[in-house]
Subunit: 195 residues, 2 copies
């Protein structure tokens, strides 16, 4: 298993048919997840295309996550985390933390994506809205959204199978100013493996 250090991102190549298992090591850590087609990174996993493709806000086991060209790129094949993930909320970025009152630089998932791809010699064509694994953003009465701690337990995981050769980027969300990574507001490391 490979560590995603607390507050940091990692990217990996995944060939069609391979799967990435994302483990919520301590149970309360959100992992922002992106996928880009290996052949052309301007094609990438898109939440706004996926929601209409699956007819749901939250993907379930069996669902394909599709790209901005509406082709399956990852498929959720295993999930013992409670099935609560988010597709509605942008990756955190420096402006998010500035608005929360942070006067100095704060680690953030947007910069983590860029840094993770840079390690592979790549640069994201844009910052797609991520699949926020383990993130708990309930939709109340069909409209209001809330920001709650994950329901996942330590060691629980999600497995995503590549439907095309791709690059998967994962960020252990450094959010420590709202309780999205648990009531202790303490970002932790997570892990992943290629299976």
């Amino acid at each position: 298993m490979i560590q995603i250090p607390a507050r940091r991102g990692k990217a990996t190549r995944l060939l069609q048919g391979q799967s990435v298992k994302v483990i919520n090591t301590h149970g309360q850590q959100v992992v922002d997840t992106w996928a880009f087609a290996l052949a052309d990174i301007t094609e990438f996993m898109s939440m706004e295309h996926t929601r209409i493709a699956i007819g749901r806000i939250i993907p379930a086991v069996g669902d394909a996550l599709v790209t901005n060209r509406r082709r399956p790129i990852l498929r959720l094949v295993e999930d013992n985390s409670g099935g609560i993930h988010d597709t509605l909320v942008a990756a955190c970025d420096r402006w998010r933390y500035e608005l929360l009152g942070c006067a100095t630089y704060h680690d953030n998932c947007t910069d983590n994506l860029a840094a993770a791809l840079a390690e592979l010699g790549l640069s994201p064509p844009e910052t797609p809205s991520p699949l926020n694994l383990f993130m708990n953003i309930p939709v109340i009465d069909g409209n209001r959204i809330d920001v709650l701690p994950p329901v996942s337990t330590p060691g629980s995981f999600v497995t995503l199978r590549a439907e095309m050769d791709c690059i998967v980027a994962l960020s252990a969300c450094p959010q420590d100013m709202v309780p999205i990574n648990g009531l202790a507001m303490t970002p932790t490391e997570a892990h992943f493996g290629i299976v």
Copy 2:
């Protein structure tokens, strides 16, 4: 009032404090809406940033729609359409119509955005997920989404005030293969005015 021809897009510059009034002329027409900062079109209205900023999926009168840098760009100041709009679903594109079984080119909001900006000598930096005015995508039981006709009535409208100098692009959605533009599945023109 300026016509947005059926199945086509139009863009206009809007100075801070000016408003665009978008009129659902026949009552059943979805209008995909984008906004780009005039000073730097890589900053644009973002649904994934707006949802967390307003704590809701559907903006209401008084809400600011924010950019990918989390700054207000438009504010919803008037709405007599029934208040049902969509922020969840991507603009239609040629791949959407191919998947629906269309064998030839089909007009689509993604290409309409590009054509509308091209008339101003610009090119969209990406295709942001649009604010789909009048589009009725209910969220059922906090997860499932449905595709329903608009609830708006002929001549009803929404007014959006510019919170910064920007370019607003509007597309009269050409979707005629699912009933998102009414049960008659007949896209129509819409109108807008600068007020």
